[in-house]
């Protein structure tokens, strides 16, 4: 695969974004949690993107939010990737009744609105996880328990499509001559799965990752809108945007609290989508 120029540009932008997320907060003169009396200030030379209700600098919060949103996106998508690929591989390769049963389970989860699943997962494990962490070495991480829940919760609802795609691929690949011959040589199933089949499905999987990532980020923002997103005072782009959107009214709106979070969120999703497009196109070219 050779990278096209636009793919390079997009990857460069992604790098910049990651850089801003990692280094930006360090360079900011404001502390992310520090409340001040300068509440609801419009953008100025002191606060480039204005301040929120508590007088916190929006730019700093957005850069911290980038960490959370990207983390939720990457980890959530990776979990869904892992579960989806493994599930699809097993179902497709085993075939027969096991495959049928496994795919039926996917059907069932498909027909269950995922928001129902996510809310229940989050509220169910919220208490459990805290009880588990309390009194152990990990107690200081209890505040981040919600983040962990989001990873798992979002990852566990996103994997369905991938499982179907991988399974369909495996079904055709496993009849190909090279797989049949490996089997004749007597290679074990795990070896065949990992050595022969996995590389074949990998291109699709990578393309899928670029699609799942924005989906997870968007889903997290909806959960934030419902008040189930990351725990304050941490903030993701989703929570920032949801907080801003809740302030919309026909009398007087602090526009900067909506415009800037929306711009970074939409821009980032756009970036991932375009990147996914490029990868798919390159994959198609390579396949031709």
């Amino acid at each position: 695969m050779k990278l096209t120029r636009s793919a390079l540009i997009l990857l460069g932008l992604l790098g910049l974004l990651l850089l801003a997320a990692i280094l930006g907060p360090i360079g900011s003169p404001y502390d992310v949690g520090e409340l001040s009396d300068n509440h609801l200030l419009p953008p100025s030379s002191h606060h480039w993107l204005g301040t929120d209700l508590h007088g916190r600098d929006l730019l700093t919060r957005l850069m911290y939010g980038a960490r959370i949103s990207l983390l939720v996106g990457f980890v959530g998508a990776s979990i869904s990737l892992l579960v989806g690929v493994v599930y699809g591989l097993i179902a497709g390769y085993t075939g027969g009744r096991v495959d049928n049963l496994m795919m039926r389970f996917v059907d069932v989860l498909y027909a269950l609105p995922r928001i129902v699943l996510v809310i229940v997962l989050i509220s169910l494990f919220d208490l459990k996880l805290k009880a588990m962490l309390d009194g152990t070495l990990f107690a200081p991480f209890a505040t981040h328990a919600r983040l962990l829940l989001l990873f798992v919760g979002l990852g566990l609802v996103e994997w369905l499509t991938l499982a179907r795609i991988v399974r369909a691929q495996v079904l055709t690949i496993k009849e190909r001559p090279f797989v049949l011959s490996s089997r004749l040589i007597g290679q074990s199933t795990p070896v065949i799965l990992v050595r022969q089949i996995l590389p074949q499905v990998l291109p699709i999987v990578i393309t899928y990752l670029t699609l799942a990532l924005p989906a997870v980020i968007l889903e997290e923002s909806f959960l934030s809108f419902l008040g189930l997103g990351v725990q304050a005072p941490l903030a993701s782009w989703g929570t920032l945007l949801a907080d801003g959107a809740s302030m919309l009214n026909p009398v007087e709106t602090p526009w900067w609290l909506i415009v800037f979070p929306a711009a970074v969120l939409v821009g980032c999703l756009l970036l991932f989508n375009l990147l996914g497009d490029q990868l798919r196109r390159m994959g198609a070219d390579a396949g031709r």
Partner: protein, 527 residues
Amino acid sequence: MIFRRVLPGWLGLWGLTFLSGCNSGPRADLVICNGAEPQTLDPALVSGQLEGRICAALYEGLTRRDARGKSIPAAAESWSVSPDGKTYTFTLRPGLKWSNGDPVTAADFRYSWLRALDPVSASPYAEILFFIRGAEDFQAGRASAESVEIAAPDDRTLRVRLKNPVPFFPSLISFTTYLPVHRATVEKYGDRWTRPEHWVGNGPYLLKAWQVNDRVSLQKNPRYHSADRVRLNRIDALAVTRASTAFNLYSSGQADVLLDKGLIPSLILPKLRGRPDFHPAPLFATYFYRFNVTRPPFDNPKVRRAFSLAIDKEAVVEKITRGGEPIALSLTPRGVPGYLPPSGPVQDTLTCKALLREAGYPNGEGFPRISILYNKSELNEQIAVELQAQWKRTLGVQVELRNQEWATYLRSLDTLDFDIARSSWVGDYDDPLTFLDCFATGRGNNRTGWSDPSYDNLLAKAQAEPNAAVRLRFLGQAEEILILQAMPILPLYHFVGCLMFDPKKWDGLLPNLLDEHPFSEIGPKGK
């Protein structure tokens, strides 16, 4: 080809859904944004204010609240009290009718009150009838309905014997749970009796239609005893959840009145304050934080005191709630005649540090990990963020935030699975007891684990006291224990109710402490 097959079916489906989905009639005389969808219109089951408002239009109790929030005679034309203050005898107006023409009798009231108490009804508010002798035992399943001392010797006389003298009993019975229901209808249709096609009531308005999440449509009741004084023919109460949506509806003229305090985005409250259609008024309600006194560190009164003294309540109302809310120095808001609530402590950054040091945490060192529990709706999170910052600033203590969705939050409150929790309480009747009784030992609404025999004792003494002034003094002493000494709670501010309507177009709507706005008194200005 394919479109030729699919399209007609699609269009047909459209036509059908359009007919069933859209039901636009002429606009009602008055359109009110009432808050969320009513959970029930059965007065025995109502537990919320927004349902109570509609019930006040559909049913009429022995007394009712007028537009000023004062209790006035309604179905009862007069009553007398025995010298010991424990027996009330009500006389009903002559000729009262249900909306189906049946006469309203004293037996209807007896039936309705016993129904609300009946454990089978599982009324969430049965407690408010416990002032009546025998009521609590019946509700708890320890005694029969006959042992409850409510008697209807004839059609127009209702005699009630109370456990204790309750000077505010006549105003208490205007509360929703005391409203009468039509026995034959309830018994015939069971749970379904409040459907518009079955419903029977005795209030100024009839239930014409009730579409889920859309609206409750009310129509003037011609059989109401003062029908000539009911000013509007048709009223629609819209179910709107989001403040911004309600405000948009009002701003565009699709709704005439915003009736719930939660229906105006708090951000713009300061902007609205100068407008003639904005009518704020203090409410009989308090926003406060609970401390869990059953476990460290808040089992130590010094820590609770330190945390209370560390808070600048002005900052909360100025920056966050923005509606001109008075800061709360006591649990009970001001406004009950004859009762001046004790004045709790104000911010004192020096003392609170000293207290924390005495408790063994100088400058917050060694303080355990604690969190504020809240549900993320309205301003709870913003307030928690502000308080978190204040405690860090004044005490050097790092408090975490813990947001749970509604059902989980309530469960955590009930099981005392929290350190500090946000709460609010709205008074049910205009007496301090409605607030103070929450914190008596073992009450379901205590939710702090706090218990103090001298507090319980003062409440009991107050309730047994026939002299109103002495009674209020006992209650005041109890509140002093709660607010000045033990401090299981930290009152933050008292709510402000915000009505919005154009005073040039409407009258009969007056801001008042109990947030009571009887629909029957609303009408076009000057008519």
